[in-house]
């Protein structure tokens, strides 16, 4: 009997591992971008095996489920707090911070006729740092933003999003499953910043709230295949009750222009990146938005992807808004994308989560 059981064990073990090996080699799903991976070294081969291994999501879900069952509240650096997943933002070094401040200062110095604003959006780990165990709370974002603002020339008006979001921390201001500000959080930021930019903010009652997507599971949870202990998100879109002021949104990518009639890309809601609904994600280097407010001033925004949800609220105060995405415009010069002097206001808006992208526009090539 023991021999039969031993034989069953051996056959089962080798059958399973051979089946998985064959599935890894011959039945792996095609790559998202359709490219074939080249193998130049043994480490490339090992990496490819890890990428192509079958049933990855099921295995991830099993691992996450098991760890959550044994009481883990932190998985691979992501903390499960209340019903949200929060991943502490990576520390930003001083060089990167001063570099960003220098860029804004140089710009402001060479465009004295333009009102320049700077706004840095904190991440969820910055606002909820007190809830995260000190082993994972990352760096002090409040202190970082203060230091950055102190390094920016006084001619540039700095907009304090941290205090605004901190005072709204009991509200649904960050997605529970994605490292991004919600529409509610974005409205709060807009409400506080637009005053400093010289406008009277439109109250929330001026907007219709639309449940664009329910049951959204963002990247923080999908990467870990977590389904337990998390409440899925809703993506809401706020549209003005008296109709949108946007007449066109011309998106530019590699000299190709596509014209839309909205700042919301609703087709993204059914894609794998539903948050691209705001400003078409980082798919375009530049988006030129024109509105019906012909006599209103114009605004140039140089932003990182996390700032997208705020921009739709700003649009209604301007005749023209040009949005440059620093990630998409990687390596390009500002002058090749827009003539900064032709705008009344310029807003540098970066978020801590994507602060790396502030290096997108090559400083040396910028013809400020």
């Amino acid at each position: 009997m023991k021999k039969i059981l031993d034989l069953i064990g051996i056959i089962m073990f080798f059958t399973i591992i051979v089946m998985f090996a064959i599935a890894t080699l011959f039945f792996h799903p095609p790559k998202e971008n359709g490219s074939k991976s080249s193998i130049r070294s043994t480490s490339d081969a090992e990496k490819l095996i890890n990428e192509d291994f079958p049933l990855q999501n099921s295995f991830k879900a099993l691992r996450s489920g098991l760890l959550l069952t044994v009481g883990k509240t932190e998985l691979d650096g992501t903390y499960l707090i209340k019903d949200s997943a929060i991943r502490p933002a990576d520390t930003i070094d001083d060089d990167e911070m001063f570099d960003y401040a220098d860029r804004i200062n140089i710009f402001a110095a060479s465009h004295k006729d333009v009102s320049v604003y700077a706004c840095v959006l904190p991440s969820a780990s910055g606002i909820y740092s007190a809830d995260i165990p000190s082993v994972g709370s990352g760096f002090d974002q409040r202190h970082f933003i203060d230091r950055l603002y102190n390094s920016i020339d006084s001619s540039v008006a700095t907009l304090d999003a941290y205090s605004t979001l901190y005072s709204s921390r009991e509200n649904y201001i960050f997605y529970r499953t994605a490292p991004c500000i919600t529409t509610t959080g974005a409205f709060d930021v807009y409400y506080s910043m637009i005053r400093k930019m010289g406008f009277t903010p439109r109250p929330l009652s001026d907007y219709d709230s639309e449940h664009a997507l329910s049951g959204f599971i963002g990247s923080l949870c999908s990467e870990l295949s977590i389904r337990q202990q998390i409440t899925p998100d809703n993506i809401e879109l706020y549209t003005p009750k008296n109709g949108t002021s946007v007449t066109s949104a011309v998106c530019t990518h590699a000299d190709t222009q596509t014209t839309y009639r909205s700042v919301f890309d609703r087709s993204a809601l059914s894609s794998e990146q539903p948050l691209d609904v705001f400003l078409y994600g980082s798919n375009y280097e530049k988006v030129d938005i024109t509105t019906i407010n012909k006599d209103a001033p114009s605004l140039l925004i140089i932003k990182t992807p996390g700032a997208d949800p705020v921009i739709p609220f700003l649009v209604s105060h301007y005749s023209k808004v040009t949005v440059i995405d620093e990630r998409a415009a990687d390596g390009m010069t500002l002058s090749s994308l827009a003539d900064a002097d032709s705008y009344d206001q310029v807003l540098f808006m970066a978020d801590i989560e994507n602060f790396d992208d502030t290096q997108g526009l090559d400083v040396k090539e910028i013809q400020w």
Binding site: K3, I17, E46, R63, V135
Partner: protein, 459 residues
């Protein structure tokens, strides 16, 4: 290549075992050499140069030492040359690990994987021939297969040629051995992927905190974590190595015999990584101790502790670990042993575990000052009994720590034996399911994230 990887489990292992099983017995050693080269060469082809050199020298110099057995002086001279070559290789590996100038090329030749095992295997072969324990083997394939036996290349067990030569010349593969090997390998894999990596992660989190703000209870959690981390890091590798060896028809002795149940430091080191301890004891402690007197006994222990700590790592804190264990052993042999014997078993075990765990703090710490501060924090130097991190660590790691403690203290093994002893035991029927569960769980932990599997060995 490491044994706790998808590549090894799903590709190398079935392919190699399949080929090995069908190769005639007389060619199995050659097959092993091929496997050894793939296993080691996967990381760096350059590493095969000293590896092959060590195999070839073991064969040639082993024969020379044996042939000169009636000319002791010449034999001794050849032995010194052989040992010098192997020690030079070890020295170069240590040099490259310390990251000195020009270490780049050397690190390609001597990556940490393998060199600390095959050099010791070759040295034991020379020394055993010299001492007349064994005769040289004239079959190159057997000597080479022994020196670079790939399941042991990661971190042992270290073999002695006299104990395994029969098995290398005629490996006995069987259904029972293969299945036992699978179970053992999967046990080691699960220990590595689930417990060792989790403990490593916890220790990593602990070291991120300013040591001056660690509360006493958190530090006590940390010290248990350190002990489990070190134990499972090496025990898992040993279990995987023994499991793979068993699949190949080569049975290696038990290497971890529940060391955390020991009542003295000497007992502990005799049960922790037994083959490694035994290697250093045989070739360093025994010859020095044989000179007679307490002084040489103390010297032998210090030299053995130093050499062993260098084998485990090149940092000063690892050296401190070795020295600390050596001091404990000396104290026991000189006076404390008598006191320990008078104490009740449980009391002696708890005292011993506390002392051993303090050593583990040195083992896992990057520097000695951190280890000292950590130990002081355990005893309340920071003025806090508990802090908010205590709950975090308890909540996140208590279940895995308790599981680890039940395994290390042998409670699981005892239950398994008790249940298996019954005439109508259901345990044999559960074994395939147990294996399946370990395979799935280990795979889940290997694919679940890109995690650092190198652990304490920095492979």
């Amino acid at each position: 290549m490491i044994m706790s990887s998808l590549l090894f489990l799903y590709f190398f292992l079935p392919l190699f075992i399949g080929l090995y099983a069908f190769v005639p017995a007389k060619h199995k050693a050659k097959m092993l050499i091929l496997g050894e080269c793939v296993f080691l060469g996967w990381r760096s082809l350059y590493a095969l140069i000293p590896f092959a050199g060590s195999m070839l020298l073991a064969y040639l110099l082993g024969m020379t030492i044996d042939n000169l057995r009636f000319k002791k002086r010449s034999q001794g001279a050849v032995l010194v040359i052989a040992l010098t070559i192997e020690l030079t290789m070890l020295g170069l590996a240590v040099y490259s690990m310390l990251g000195f100038k020009g270490a780049g090329t050397i690190s390609k030749l001597f990556p940490p994987l393998g060199v600390f095992v095959y050099t010791l295997a070759a040295m034991s072969y020379y020394l055993d021939i010299y001492k007349g324990v064994i005769r040289c083997d004239h079959r190159f394939s057997l000597v080479a297969a022994f020196v670079g036996f790939f399941p042991c290349l990661t971190a042992g067990p270290l073999m002695r040629y006299g104990e395994v030569s029969q098995q290398f010349s005629a490996p006995q593969m069987s259904i029972e051995k293969t299945n036992d090997g699978i179970s053992l390998y999967l046990k080691g894999l699960a220990e590595k992927c689930i417990i060792s990596c989790t403990m490593g992660e916890m220790w990593g989190q602990l070291t991120k905190i300013d040591i001056g703000s660690v509360s006493a209870v958190t530090a006590w959690f940390g010290v248990i974590c350190a002990g489990l981390y070190v134990y499972f890091e090496f025990a898992s590798i040993s279990h995987m190595a023994r499991g793979v060896s068993l699949m190949l028809g080569i049975e290696l002795p038990v290497n971890f015999d529940h060391p955390f149940k020991s009542v003295s430091a000497t007992e502990f080191i005799g049960k922790f990584n037994v083959s490694v301890t035994s290697w250093f004891k045989s070739y360093i402690y025994d010859p020095v101790n044989a000179l007679g007197g307490r002084l040489f006994m103390v010297l032998g222990i210090i030299l053995t502790g130093t050499a062993m700590s260098l084998w485990y790592g090149t940092s000063l804190s690892r050296l401190m670990f070795g020295m600390y264990i050596a001091v404990l052993c000396i104290a026991e042999l000189l006076f404390a042993g008598r006191i320990l014997k008078k104490l009740p078993y449980v009391v002696a075990m708890v005292i011993n575990m506390l002392l051993i765990h303090l050593a583990m703090v040195f083992f896992v710490s990057e520097d000695c000052s951190y280890a000292f501060s950590f130990i002081l924090a355990m005893f309340g130097k920071n003025g806090m009994l508990i802090d908010n991190l205590t709950l975090h660590f308890f909540e996140n790691y208590a279940v895995i720590m308790i599981t680890g403690l039940l395994i290390t203290t042998g409670v699981f093994d005892l239950a398994y034996k008790r249940l298996g002893r019954s005439r109508h035991s259901f345990i044999p029927f559960l074994r395939p399911l147990w294996q399946l569960m370990l395979l799935i769980l280990s795979t889940a932990f290997m694919t679940g994230r890109v995690q650092d599997f190198s652990g304490l060995l920095a492979l």
